[in-house]
Symmetry: C2
Subunit: 299 residues, 2 copies
DNA sequence: CCGTTACCACCTAGGTGCCAATTT
DNA sequence: AAATTGGCACCTAGGTGGTAACGG
């Protein structure tokens, strides 16, 4: 008697796996395109970057806070991105005057900093696991009348594979990176945004999921376990006045990177301090907090 | 320590209250417009309707199945809409040849029929209550390349107020209708859809909420308790090739009505058979099913 | 008297880390 | 030995009707 299933699949905003080409041609609709490229380590982009502060340091293994964020030591709740680079590294990036005005700040910087000091780890599972902390950003300098697509991806930081030395409580290089995986873009499900929306409200990527399943069909971002990654946030100005087939110039992209959001993908937490910090700060893990668990001991 | 709040409000797809004017000018973005009109009883539209089968019968109090649906007696899982009318009743509706091809069917017809036979009731609360059954429709005849906005609203069936006679188990007219309420359109949060999406997948209005709070700020649909209502589904072809300020012609609308979805808004269920059917068919009410409740008696 | 409200127990749905078992 | 998996208890978040209290 219970009413559950229906003949047709229901529309949902799950299909968020996009190729860059699909994005360009479709202009950000929620269709799923099978075309998938593979991404190369961030190092390659960095070499071509024109940033004042070289991103090369990002490739170092050390994850203990030199990149605590551009606002390190300040009490600001949000962090400005260190640098921008193009989604597709073609020629040196010269964003249009209009796009150059756009700024993006990380709203959850304080929490990210705490994790970053310890060396952030993110669980990846076959079915997909959310990130914690969540990437939440806000924009300024956008045209309130224009429309924008906001998306994120996650790129390798280097070509290394890591392992955790429990007795030393530190990460060690364990060899060369595993073969690259299908690159996936996570288009924020509320895209396209009006500039007005972006100025008023924060964009949260809480629903993005990470997986180690190379054959994932849900559009989750696929990562290699025991590798280091850097999330990136991209904003694209949508041109809707013409048929939008591949006429998107690179100046219409902006990419923002927050170094304090680097993390190592794992299938089980390695550093116990990370586990503790996750339990203490993620509401969904409340069941594992000290007070609850002390009662277990008291029994 | 727990991470919860953030300085900026988070973007969500909650703001779904639209005026028709706002829809036309914004082309279906998710902004909230305060402009609210009041709607008039369905009767007024019906008079101007050019439908073959007069909708006038809809205004009759009887809710016991003469309108079991256009497919009455058939075992089809979905129902075709009986008739279409314009969102704004101006001149007799002559949809463009293209829009005339569009058909819309009710995917949940079987369940709706069961409720309709008993006289469907929907709870309305201050904070907003979902509809059960849910309005789920699928479209055919749309242009797979075009973009469409899909929305619903709920209009009064007549100018009457009702009361339920428990001893007779039937509804009686209790007087003239209360003053009309702000008219609200619920734009499906996944709008705009591509025609391709609409052909593939069903559109579900499961998230729409009904309220009796005239000052509701959440964009829920506002109804008068003890009044009869008819949900309507609208589809608008989106023209994005020009600046879209009020140049939407009425031919670009289509409206679909499923008579088996009429209901009476209530703050508490009146007909016990409706209560039982809700409990038996809504998964969220499983806690009230016979087997669970018999154990209460067994105590 | 009838209609509305607030709170409740009981669900669905799904996000946590834990842990034992399994795989490589 | 190291890494992965699946089931689990325990949460968050929120959708049900029941029920007693309230209010016109």
């Amino acid at each position: 008697m219970e009413f559950t299933a229906s003949p047709k699949p229901q529309l949902s905003s799950r299909a968020n796996a996009f190729s860059i080409a699909a994005l360009m041609s479709s202009g950000g609709s929620k269709e799923k395109e099978a075309t998938e490229n593979t991404i190369k380590p961030l190092e390659q982009f960095v070499e071509k970057s024109s940033c004042a502060q070289p991103l090369g340091e990002l490739t170092s293994l050390d994850a203990h806070g030199e990149f605590g964020g551009s606002g390190a030591g300040s009490s600001s709740p949000s962090s400005s991105s260190l640098c921008t680079e193009p989604l597709i590294p073609t020629t040196p990036i010269i964003p249009s005057e209009e796009m150059a005005k756009i700024a993006c700040s990380l709203e959850t910087k304080e929490l990210w900093d705490k994790f970053h000091e310890l060396g952030t780890e993110m669980i990846i599972t076959k079915s997909g696991r959310r990130m914690f902390p969540t990437i939440r950003v806000s924009f300024s300098g956008v045209d309130s009348e224009a429309k924008y697509i906001v998306l994120m991806d996650i790129v390798p930081v280097d070509n290394k594979r890591y392992r955790y030395a429990y007795h030393r409580s530190s990460w060690l290089v364990a060899g060369k990176a595993d073969p690259p995986l299908p690159a996936r873009l996570y288009v924020h499900p509320d895209s396209p945004f009006t500039g007005e929306q972006l100025l008023k409200q924060m964009v949260s990527f809480e629903k993005v999921k990470l997986t180690n399943n190379e054959l994932d069909q849900h559009g989750h971002i696929i990562l290699n376990s025991m590798h280091k990654y850097q999330p990136r946030v991209h904003i694209i100005k949508k041109k809707d006045h013409t048929a939008s087939l591949l006429n998107l110039k690179s100046e219409e992209f902006r990419t923002f990177i927050f170094p304090e959001t680097v993390f190592t993908a794992v299938t089980a937490y390695q550093n116990q301090l990370i586990t503790k910090l996750k339990i203490d700060s993620n509401p969904f893990a409340k069941g594992f907090r000290d007070s609850s668990r002390l009662t277990d001991i008291e029994r």
